[in-house]
């Protein structure tokens, strides 16, 4: 049984904050397929198209028939723990600071034997489930969990090192005016967040969500306008040093593509909020968050952007909004690279049309605030980099992965006018 994680003590101001260190990052190109799957929280292995062999570790050719027709496929993650050991010392700084550390070998039901990290509650010859997660270097590692849930199992130090779990963490949600904010705050509170800061823009006009937010125990509503550099800097000055997870859900959205509008006003505002807003937040909160990724139980751990899935490929009815989200997605990739050395994780949560005023004329299915909150908390608990909320987002992403040009054709048909 795992020892339950205690809330962290107040920080000792005389002790130097621990500098972040990282587990080894180097991987072969073939092994990056595993990291790509881990970014989405999937357990995938190479399957040979020719002989059907499932292989591990990843290679450039099939270890059974030498075919290079290898395909990454989601794979049955069940297995049996064969052998286990506990490492008490290591030449790698990251592990030196974290020993003892359990590793072992697992016979997968799917065929191969794998070497993996072990959850504290796994026992030899016991049944396990393998999860594929990103470690703090941003690369995939496999971790075996006991197949039966054990008490407080999410508090296992090896598991927590790979996730962005909100438990005992202090979280900033950027936009109190977004209709999803109350549900996100509630879900994070239920998931054990210790404090939830919510940014409210333009305190000189009413916000329909304010009463619900202010009534929540752990919520503190503070002034923040992501279009105002000074406002972002001011809040970062106040709480940047205790923001462990930042959730950027600020969104400006108006319908219309290029020709549906006769000026650039809305487009500018979309860029100001959706693109420059992210940049301002990153420039103010990024450095201090990146410096605190080894700061104990409530070390800073993740940066979340809530984006439209049409960041991947335009939805012409919302063409300008899609463009601002594509810009934000591109910026998030840059940010992910810039945060990588610190281990701070960037998670993008992609939504289809949401259940709010701007998508009101669109037919269902639409994404509810509850669904966004659920996907967000699960994504953090699983340490993801990319997650999709709702059927539309999942469908668009699958089609994007399959063939982006076909997806574009399908979403830009002009209708049968002939």
């Amino acid at each position: 049984m795992t020892d339950p994680l205690s809330p962290p003590p107040k920080k000792n101001p005389q002790v130097r904050t621990v500098s972040p260190t990282r587990p080894p990052e180097a991987r072969s190109r073939a092994a990056l397929g595993l990291s790509a799957a881990a970014a989405e929280g999937r357990f995938a292995l190479q399957h040979c198209d020719e002989c059907g062999k499932v292989q591990y570790p990843p290679r450039d050719a099939c270890s059974g028939c030498l075919s290079t027709e290898l395909r990454w496929k989601d794979t049955d993650a069940k297995g049996t723990l064969l052998a286990e050991t506990t490492i008490h010392t290591s030449t790698k700084l990251y592990f030196r600071e974290r020993t003892p550390w359990r590793t072992g070998s697992v016979q997968l039901d799917a065929g191969p034997v794998i070497i993996c990290h072990l959850h504290g509650d796994c026992v030899r010859n016991g049944r396990v489930d393998i999860i594929n997660r990103l470690d703090r270097s941003g690369q995939a590692v496999l971790l075996a969990l006991p197949s039966q849930r054990s008490p407080h199992m999410e508090d296992d130090p090896q598991l927590r090192a790979m996730t962005s779990d909100p438990k005992h963490r202090r979280i900033l949600i950027t936009d109190a005016r977004n209709p999803n904010t109350s549900e996100i705050a509630r879900a994070l509170s239920d998931a054990g967040a210790s404090m939830i800061f919510v940014g409210l823009s333009e305190t000189w006009r009413p916000s329909p969500t304010l009463d619900a937010l202010s009534a929540m125990d752990k919520v503190d509503v503070l002034p923040l306008d992501v279009t105002d550099t000074h406002s972002v800097q001011k809040l970062a000055g106040a709480i940047g040093g205790k923001t462990d997870i930042l959730i950027n859900n600020a969104r400006f959205l108006r319908p219309g593509g290029v020709l549906a509008r006769s000026d650039t006003s809305f487009a500018k505002e979309e860029m100001e909020v959706n693109y420059f807003g992210l940049m301002r937040l990153a420039q103010s909160f990024g450095p201090v968050m990146a410096s605190r990724t080894a700061d104990g139980v409530n070390a800073s751990v993740a940066w979340v952007n809530i984006l439209s899935v049409h960041a991947l490929s335009s939805q012409p009815e919302f063409g300008c909004f899609s463009a601002s989200n594509a810009a934000a997605r591109s910026l998030s990739q840059s940010l992910r690279a810039e945060f990588r050395a610190s281990g701070l994780r960037v998670m993008n949560l992609y939504c289809g049309p949401t259940e709010d005023e701007w998508y009101q004329p669109l037919p269902p299915p639409k994404v509810t605030p509850q669904a966004v909150a659920r996907t967000l908390v699960t994504g953090l608990q699983n340490g993801l980099e990319e997650t999709y909320c709702g059927d539309v987002a999942k469908d668009v992403f699958e089609r994007f992965r399959d063939n982006p040009l076909i997806l574009e054709r399908e979403t830009t048909l002009a209708g049968d006018g002939a």
Binding site: E202, W204, P206, D225, D228, H230, D263, S265
Partner: protein, 262 residues
């Protein structure tokens, strides 16, 4: 003769027997702007970004880029601002005769009524009552409606509710009276617009905007410190930026006041 007046003025400014009163709010990102239904384009908020601040972006100097609307903060409305004034000659800030930017100002004190009634209306009767006491409003003068609304901060300023904003303003009759009976130069308020918060429910909607600009008159809004002005006798300095085809402009509004008036 003018030399004597101006040298007298210079002397009076020097010994502060004439005082300069600032009627302007600070341009601040948090200062309210008018809110329209969200499907309409909106008035830009004031924003300021550093270009450099004695640093690697410019070692010896500090400066900012600012963005704002013609109608952000304390600002001037030209006739071209409203559809009723769109076809008038010289209706934009760059073409208005600059003689209009300096002139006499009358201040009608509605602060008492506005303190208890957020929808307080300036009516022709109130204007006539003011004239009983202070004399007729001279033609071509500015008329300012003092409500002390400029002392409100935060959400109280727009006072926005589900049925729209609530703040004092003139009735259509009052504005028609000021234009047709008194031929004023312009009308100014301490609120976010020259019209009442509920001004869209008059006929015509936004009567101050509609009638003033249709008659080639000007507007001033988001004024401050009107409580420091005498009912009559002050001179208003209100020169908008010279923006090509501009429909308005943020500006520094000041008043010259005889020392014994305040």
């Amino acid at each position: 003769m003018s030399e004597t007046i101006l040298s007298d003025l210079a002397k009076a400014l020097g010994d502060q027997s004439i005082k300069v009163i600032d009627l302007t709010h600070t341009l601040d990102p948090d200062f309210p702007v008018i809110i329209l239904p969200p499907e309409f384009n909106q008035c830009a908020r004031f924003r300021m970004e550093e270009i450099s601040a004695y640093d690697h972006r410019g070692p010896a100097w500090k400066w900012h880029n600012i963005t704002l609307s013609e109608h952000t903060g304390t600002h001037f409305d030209a006739p071209a601002h409203w559809i009723s004034g769109r076809d008038l000659p010289n209706n934009s800030v760059d073409t208005i005769n600059p003689a209009n930017f300096v002139g006499p100002v009358m201040v009608i004190d509605c602060s008492e009524g506005s303190a208890t009634n957020e929808d307080f209306e300036l009516t022709p009767e109130l204007i006539l009552a003011w004239e009983e006491e202070h004399g007729e409003i001279p033609k071509d003068s500015w008329v300012l409606m003092r409500t002390d609304w400029s002392k409100k901060t935060g959400a109280d300023y727009l006072n926005m509710r589900d049925d729209g904003p609530h703040s004092p303003g003139p009735t259509p009759d009052a504005i028609r009276f000021l234009i047709h009976e008194r031929n004023i130069r312009g009308f100014g308020t301490e609120t976010v617009g020259t019209d009442a918060g509920q001004g869209s429910h008059y006929t015509p909607p936004y009567p101050a905007h509609f009638y003033l600009h249709g008659a080639g008159k000007f507007g001033l809004q988001c004024l401050a410190n009107l409580d420091l002005l005498p009912p009559r006798g002050a001179i208003l300095l209100a020169a908008p930026l010279k923006i090509k085809d501009g429909t308005g402009s943020p500006l520094r509004v000041m008043a010259l006041v005889q020392g014994n008036d305040i």
